[in-house]
Amino acid sequence: MEKGQVKKLVLIGGSAGSIEVLMAVLPRLPIGMDFPIVVVLHRKSSDDNTLEELFAMKTHVPVREIEDKTRIENGSLYVVPADYHLLFESNGTVSLDVSEKVHYSRPSIDVVFESAAATYKEGVVAILLSGSNADGALGCVRVQENGGTVVVQNPAEAEMPFMPNSAIQLLKPDFIASTDDIASLIGRI
C-alpha cells in the first residue's frame, strides 16, 4: 500500500451542544495521530473561519481548511465548510456540493457519513454528538453496513439528546460513550 494512504478516517458529527464536547475532546487527541479527523457541524451559512480558529486553539493537531478537491491527509483535522455538503472521492480528495439541504442542514452529517462509508468502508469511525435534529442517524447505519464503527454520545450526558437518541433508535452503536471516553476511543478503535 502507498505510504500515507488513509486507512482509518474519524468523523465527528454534531449540532446544538456539540461544540462544548469537542472543546473537551480536542486537547486530548492522541499524540502522533496517524489518521485524519473530519468534523461536520451544523453551522450558520454566514460562518467564516471562526470555528476552525476556535478548534486550532485547543489541539496540537493541525487544523486545515477544506476547499474543493482538498486531499484528506493523515494527522490533520478538517472542518466541513458552512453551506456545502462534503463527499469523499476514491482518490483521497473531497468534492464540495451545494445541492439541497438534508434535514434542513448543509452540511448534512448523513451525507458526510454515507459518503465516507462508501469510500473508506471499515476504516470509518463515526462519532455522533449532541443535537436537536435527526441528521446523522441514517449515516451511522450506512457506516455500520460497510463495516465501520459507530460511537454515539451518551444521550443522558448530551445537552441535546435528540440526535444521539435518533441514532440509537435506528441501530445498535458499537459504543455509547461519555465525553471522557470519546477522546480515548478515537485513538483506540
Partner: protein, 269 residues
C-alpha cells in the same frame, strides 16, 4: 447503491447516444445524484434505468436536469458581491462597453443580482450579460426572471449585507406568490445553452463568473474549463469563482493575480 462499473457504463452510453460527456464529473456527487434519481423514480435495477435513458430522450433530459445541481440564490455570499461592488465594478466603469459571462448560471438569480449591482453603479446601460448553462430547463426560468416570492426576504437580507441601500422590493413586482424582476434587467441579458465540457469560447469578456460549477468537475475537467475562461477573458479582465474553488495548481494560474483573499483573479498576462 449503484456500482462503479455501472456508472462507467452509464457515462459511456450517454456519451454515445446523446453526445454529453460526464466522464470528467466529480464521481462522488454524480453517483449520489444517480442513486437518488433511481430511487425517486422507483428503479430497482440498473438495467431498466439505463434502457429507459437510451430509448427515451425525454427521460434523458430529466436525467440531465436531476444530475446537475441547480441550487442557487440571489446575492449568495454577500461579501463577494460587496467586493464586486466596491473593487471590480469601478474598474469596469472606465470601459466604453462591459461584457460579462455567467457560466453555469442555473435559474439566473446570480445574473439578476449582477444586473442590480450594475444599475446601482450606473453601468447597466452599457453592459451586456451573457448567461449560459448546460441545462435548457433552468435557462427558461432565468429568461423569465420570475422567482418564488417566499425567497425575497432572504434575498433582501443578502442584498443589504452586500452593501445595497435601495428598497429591494422595488426591483420586482409581486404576483400570486411570485416575484417578477423588471424587464429593464432581462433586456440586458442573453441566455443560451453552452456546455463547458464540449463547447468553445464564443466571445471576449471583461468579467467571467463561474461559481459553484467547478466543484462538480474533477481536476482535469476543471483545468479544461479554466482554459476556456482564459481564452474568453480580455487582458486585465477578471475571473470569479465560488468561495471554495480556486485556480491554484491549474495551468492558467501563472497568468493571474488574486485579489487579496477573494476568489477573484485578474488576468495580467
Amino acid at each position: 447503491m449503484i456500482e462503479d462499473r455501472e456508472i462507467d457504463w452509464l457515462i459511456n452510453e450517454v456519451h454515445e447516444y446523446y453526445g454529453y460527456d460526464f466522464s470528467g464529473y466529480s464521481r462522488a456527487s454524480f453517483r449520489r445524484r444517480v442513486d437518488r434519481l433511481m430511487e425517486v423514480d422507483g428503479f430497482k435495477e440498473f438495467g431498466a434505468f439505463l434502457s429507459k435513458i437510451r430509448s427515451e430522450p425525454d427521460y434523458f433530459r430529466r436525467m440531465v436536469e436531476e444530475i446537475t445541481v441547480n441550487v442557487t440564490e440571489m446575492f449568495r455570499d454577500p461579501a463577494f458581491y460587496k467586493t464586486l461592488r466596491t473593487k471590480i465594478l469601478p474598474e469596469l466603469g472606465t470601459k466604453p462597453f462591459v461584457r460579462i459571462w455567467h457560466a453555469g448560471c442555473s435559474t439566473g438569480e446570480e445574473v439578476y443580482s449582477m444586473a442590480i449591482l450594475l444599475e446601482e453603479s450606473k453601468l447597466l446601460h452599457k453592459s451586456l450579460l451573457y448567461a449560459t448553462d448546460i441545462n435548457p430547463q433552468v435557462l427558461e426560468t432565468a429568461r423569465k426572471g420570475i422567482f418564488p416570492l417566499r425567497m425575497m426576504k432572504d434575498y433582501s437580507e443578502n442584498y443589504v449585507a452586500s452593501g445595497g441601500h435601495q428598497d429591494f422590493s422595488g426591483y420586482y413586482t409581486a404576483n400570486y406568490g411570485y416575484a417578477k424582476f423588471s424587464e429593464r434587467f432581462s433586456k440586458k441579458m442573453v441566455f443560451s445553452q453552452h456546455n463547458l465540457v464540449s463547447d468553445r469560447s464564443f466571445n471576449e469578456f471583461d468579467l467571467i463568473l463561474c461559481r459553484n460549477v467547478l466543484i462538480y468537475f474533477d481536476k482535469e475537467l476543471q483545468d479544461h474549463a479554466l482554459q476556456l475562461f482564459d481564452d474568453s477573458l480580455s487582458l486585465l479582465g477578471h475571473l470569479a469563482l465560488g468561495t471554495k474553488e480556486s485556480i491554484k495548481f491549474s495551468g492558467i494560474q501563472k497568468k493571474y493575480q488574486q485579489l487579496d483573499k477573494e476568489k477573484i483573479w485578474k488576468k495580467v498576462k
